[in-house]
Symmetry: C2
Subunit: 385 residues, 2 copies
């Protein structure tokens, strides 16, 4: 086990009806900005529930935060915060809205261009507005972590930052608020959580028994509950298990003390930036190809994954590994997410374009050992066509 520093002060309020508690979770007298995405929270009642809970607060609102939240949009929110002297933020939505709110929280305290937060890996973040989150889409884990991924449309760049100053103070997780999600978003969320876990788990072995078993438990739960969430969208128990799993997939716990990979994400970010694929679509495409390409380096862990997650314990080792990867692909497709670039109308020309983008962004030694060079990334992309 590697030495680690684990800290996660986000308070989780889980279950049906918890939105009402916003009334007391947000400080009395605060000037509150409610941030959200498209109109879905208006259609499904979540917007009304939030506004009702905040009826005794001074509330402003900022809608229109897009998937892959953009610098261009969020700087407008920062301007609103400064103009109206907002001192508390409430994100209502999925990972994009919460990531965007983190950027607003930090950016509102900066005098310089907030894009510098990405350029400087948050080293210039010395303060942030406090905020809470009302989660409507189990997927990214942003509701209980200190990370954020922001896209600059003008330059097609997509970068992450992390800062302990942007942990949500609280996150409300009400599984009933996910009942009306479109199937595409549910499937994407499941794949996103699955690959978050895999990036922390599928590494060279580090004698991290607890972290491994927690990761495997989360993966098994996704495998069991993912397809059921699509088939039975109003099954509370299924939605609850899924929601808590997605949060725990990326709250720092299973990654504490383990080497982490994240090569799949880095390649995936370029695919989204260049071609506009959903984040989860890029992960479903890249992960299986990555596992096949890196099979020898991760042999022991792939066998453990095959045994413990897919119950593949007998027969030839290579066959077990290939079967586990094939099951992973089948699982992604079973929740509606295609696993080949060609499924998204993309072809061979993607390979040099993404490799060039990786090079331009310094992503030349990815993975927990730095072995995913540009040459390896090229092979991964070729396997994913």
């Amino acid at each position: 086990m590697l030495n680690f520093d684990f800290y996660n002060p986000t308070r989780i309020l889980f279950g049906e009806g918890q939105i009402e508690r916003l009334a007391r979770l947000v400080p009395a007298g605060a000037r509150v900005l409610v941030l959200y995405g498209g109109g879905s929270i208006r259609a499904n009642g979540t917007y009304d529930a939030v506004m009702s809970a905040l009826k005794d607060h001074t509330v402003f609102e900022f809608g229109g935060i897009e998937p892959n939240p953009s610098y261009e949009t969020l700087t407008q929110a920062i301007a609103l915060v400064k103009r109206e002297n907002v001192d508390y933020l409430v994100a209502v939505g999925g990972g994009s809205v919460i990531d965007g709110t983190k950027f607003v929280a930090a950016g509102a305290k900066l005098d310089e261009d907030p894009w510098t937060i990405l350029e400087q890996h948050a080293k210039n973040v010395r303060a942030a507005l406090p905020f809470g989150a009302v989660l409507t889409l189990p997927a990214t884990g942003s509701e209980m972590n200190s990370g954020s991924v922001i896209t600059k449309k003008a330059t097609q760049e997509k970068f992450a930052f992390m800062s302990r100053l942007v942990f949500p103070q609280f996150a409300i997780l009400d599984p009933t608020r996910t009942y009306t999600l479109p199937a595409r978003q549910v499937g994407n969320g499941i794949v996103d959580a699955f690959v978050h876990i895999m990036e922390q788990y599928m590494t060279v072995s580090g004698n991290t028994k607890v972290q491994d078993r927690f990761a495997e438990g989360l993966l098994q739960t996704l495998v069991e509950e993912g397809p059921r969430a699509l088939a039975e969208p109003e099954n509370y128990a299924v939605r609850a298990n899924l929601m808590w799993t997605a949060t725990l997939a990326l709250n720092g716990l299973i990654g504490a003390g383990v080497s982490q990979d994240w090569a799949t994400h880095m390649i995936g970010h370029e695919l989204t930036a260049l071609y506009g694929l959903d984040h989860a679509q890029t992960l479903a495409v890249v992960l299986p190809a990555m596992l096949r390409e890196r099979r020898e380096a991760k042999r022991a862990k792939l066998l453990q994954y095959a045994a413990r997650v897919w119950d593949l314990r007998e027969g030839d080792e290579d066959a077990r590994i290939e079967a586990a990867i094939a099951r992973t692909e089948d699982f992604f497709r079973s929740v509606g997410v295609a696993t080949r670039l060609s499924d998204y109308g993309l072809g061979q020309d993607v390979v040099p374009a993404v490799v060039n983008a990786l090079e331009a962004h310094g992503m030349t030694k990815l993975g927990e050992t730095g072995e995913v060079t540009l040459a390896v990334s090229r092979k991964v992309l070729e396997r994913s066509l």
Copy 2:
């Protein structure tokens, strides 16, 4: 899944060498009281490491906090805190020292008799001194939770309190600091952590897939690493897995959203108060008897436990359950903790004495459904002779 409110702001600094970080974790200028137990931390170098890290602070010390930390001892520490205007506490030890430090932290801010904290279930705790912990014994989880168990020697009473004001600000977990522990303490710690997990896991089923699998992962890790920790006391990987497991066993995570039992602990507390058994000894005695007595109520979960923790998946259901309980007892004995009252020289007269104590303390409806009445507790005690 039940609605839940999960919050745990304790920062964990895990790994060899982390004690040095005390120098900056404790605020500069603080008047620090270092609390500890017996002399073992002096003999093994932990005391020196702590004092060296705090050499630029104003440091007082209070040793002699006993196992099952007592009101009588701790009120002396509170007096020292008040007399010297101490404003930061550092607990160096296991669960007893950390529990005791929590009592000191809260008691130092009270004008009234601090025993009222126990009597009033911490309702009168409105402030507490900040503190951190250096853990030397993986066992109770006190280093990352807000609970504390205090004994009043004068009346042989042992009660718990919980307050969000007594989360440690940080906890340093350095596995090398556990190398020199006596085997009895290591074994006790393993049993303590195991039963903490069981109290949260072995309940009526609540469709809590993640919590179940996390609990099972922790139990499996204890089963694998417990005997190895005794056989290879300086195996870093084993000690690290054990240390992190014991912390996660009772930091609120696996208990969030699940009904919890704790009947074994309540009966165990009376055995310690009346006869001075180690806490873990009482748990090793009571748990197997409790599982046998409550077999029908917990049938589904016992079968899941048999399958997932002990790989007992085939054959007659009752035989599987009995085998899983027998394996549990074998495991306790394998780490040196006996599982019968008679092993500790106790006999039939214990039964009415403990039942009377339970009645006197209002412990008449224990367990997650309240079904462990005094009559059931009596049967459990009879099974544990």
